[in-house]
Amino acid sequence: MIETTSAGGLRERIAASRTWQTLRAATWLEWQARGNWTNPILYGIYLIVRPMTTSLVLVLMYWLVSGAHAHGGLFGFLIAGAAAWTFVDQIVAGVPQAVLADREEYAMLKYVYITPARFLVVLIGRALPRMLVAFISFTVTLAFGVAILGVPVDVRMINYPLLLLALVLGFVGITALGIMLAGLALVLKRGAWQMPQAVTGALYLVSGAIFPVAVLPVWLRDISLGVPLTYWLELTRRALLGSRIGETFPIASTGAILGWLALTTVILSAVSVIVFRICDYFARERGQIDRTTGY
């Protein structure tokens, strides 16, 4: 009896340690894959220049459209949205593509898949370095906005606790989305590589990344308010720019927005895990874990 218990205990310890080791190894793999570390300077430039050009394009477009009405406050809305969006690009679009690359470029997915490592943990591990990369882009874009475009961010006035909370909850929701799309990408017969971009593109329009949710038609606004990204972007803006920026948002109270963010994040995470499990089941059923034929 004692022997059984201790053996069971040992097995649990091994399993716990394996989860941690898996997370570490997957994070490390993604870290290696992320950058061209043989040429860090080039990668550094890429990290900085890409988000800046993205926001510049946005700002220019606004300038052209709204002409004289362009001002620092509006840029603040835009730049904060564009800066935060790099998290979505890196993770929601990036994690499914990492899985597809594992399957089709490296032909390694099947070998990873048949280890006792939990695949969900592998995916979370692969999201972590992407979060760091996104965080760098986020900071650089904001700094650029403040220095060049006169975005009214006062470093001393930022609501750091709120920002941290928004980023953490945002990361959970974004990773959950990435995992769900990774599952779907595995079972899609066509367009698996394009699907994550298409989904993030749709979310870009719906979640208030570049224009206020208030301007959306009512039915789209309802969709928008079901997506945690909407609350996450709004909270990030409020933390950075003060709550005046959120005047157009359908919900006034910051606390209520936080509550909605938490609730939708929990729901999304649960749905993601379920969808992922279902996709995993179908992928095994249909033999799609090691399919290397192109799309």
Binding site: I14, A15, S17, R18, Q21, T22, R24, A25, W28, L29, Q32, A33, Y106, A107, M108, K110, Y111, V112, Y113, I114, T115, P116, A117, V122, K189, R284, E285, R286, G287, I289, D290
Partner: protein, 350 residues
């Protein structure tokens, strides 16, 4: 490990495993079927004991890889059960995965961005092997397969053969009990294939609990490595046994070839009339005669030779004619054209 009953449990067991693939445009959701379905495995039942190197032989498309995918939890069977160490591959997935590893030949797999050592370390992590033990094992494995010098080389810079040997190390770094090798030496040069085979044998000797399921198209490889083999054809196991069983199974009679001196044509007739002699054929070759005998049983060779001596013939050399595994294989799976027709018959249009 200490459970007494465990010794009786086969390392690998399949019960009536069937796998049907739905080809492109296949099953539509309402249950109505469109397009082609392929029956890759059609009721495969196998028992593979611990400590064996078991060979699965079959032509292209026979279903070998499909069976390995099912046993390695990559693919679900359509029906039937499969067990690793008594554990169901569809229900006790994690337990199964802790015990197995797989290498498939003929593919360029590997994270090119990592070094050989890094890649192996990463896999050890996925199995929960502590880093220190992992590095120790990696050193041992790499030098055992002759990759000691490549440990810190990036994977993309490896040749096919080196990559394949690295993949073998990748499979072994977790110290699996059951190893699946799907054409492990395909595309390797003579020496590299030999080093893979040698290492597999050595690895098996190190621990009696270890088991290997191997597929190969090289009959000599199966002959050299395997204790038992099964021949699979169109998803059916058509023969199973030791390689000797398979070869003998072919032979109804014991066949011998004799080199004779001082031969008289009358001897042939005399031999044909003897008990136990099924067939006797003599052929003149220069100053010698080559005699081919088919006997009812092996034991009849002694009195037969004695009778030749009595009659005044002289036996210079005697050789038992064994069929090769390849001959046995070809006999079992039939010729290519015939098989092609059968394959078409096996594909059902629904």
């Amino acid at each position: 490990m200490s459970h007494p009953a465990e010794r009786d449990v086969p390392a690998i067991q399949t019960v009536n495993v069937r796998r049907v693939y739905h080809a492109r445009g296949g099953r539509s959701i309402g249950g109505a079927k469109a397009g082609k379905t392929v029956v890759a495995l059609d009721g495969v039942s196998l028992n593979i004991a611990r400590g064996e190197i078991f060979g699965l032989l079959g032509r292209n498309g026979a279903g070998k890889t499909t069976l390995i995918k099912i046993l390695t939890t990559l693919l679900a069977p359509t029906s039937g059960q499969a067990y690793i160490d008594g554990m169901d591959v569809t229900r006790e997935v994690t337990k199964v995965r802790q015990r197995i590893a797989m290498v498939s030949g003929g593919e360029q797999s590997g994270y090119g961005i990592l070094t050989v050592r890094e890649q192996l370390w990463m896999f050890a992590q996925f199995y929960g092997v502590p880093s220190k033990i992992a590095h120790q094992r990696i050193d041992e494995l790499l030098s055992a397969v002759g990759l000691g010098d490549q440990a810190n080389q990036k994977v993309y810079a490896l040749s096919t053969g080196m990559r394949q040997r690295m993949n073998l190390c990748r499979a072994l770094v977790s110290d699996p009990e059951i190893l699946f090798l799907d054409e492990p030496t395909v595309g390797l040069d003579v020496e590299a294939s030999r080093s893979v085979r040698d290492y597999v044998r050595q690895w098996m000797r190190q621990d009696p609990r270890r088991t290997v399921l191997l597929t190969t198209h090289y009959m000599f490889e199966a002959d050299e490595l395997c204790d038992h083999v099964a021949v699979i054809n169109h998803g059916h196991i058509v023969a199973e046994g030791t390689t000797d069983d398979l070869k003998r199974g072919l032979q109804e009679h014991a066949r011998f070839q004799l080199e004779m001196a001082e031969w008289l044509p009358a001897f042939t007739e005399m031999l044909r009339n003897r008990d136990g002699v099924v067939e006797a054929q003599a052929e003149q070759r220069n100053d010698r005669t080559q005699l081919r005998l088919a006997l009812l049983r092996e034991e009849f060779i002694v009195p037969t030779i004695a009778s030749i001596n009595e009659a005044g013939g002289r036996v210079l050399a005697l050789r038992r004619i064994e069929p090769t595994l390849e001959e046995a294989f070809v006999r079992l799976v039939g010729d290519e054209a015939e098989s092609q027709r059968e394959a078409e018959g096996a594909e059902v249009n629904g």
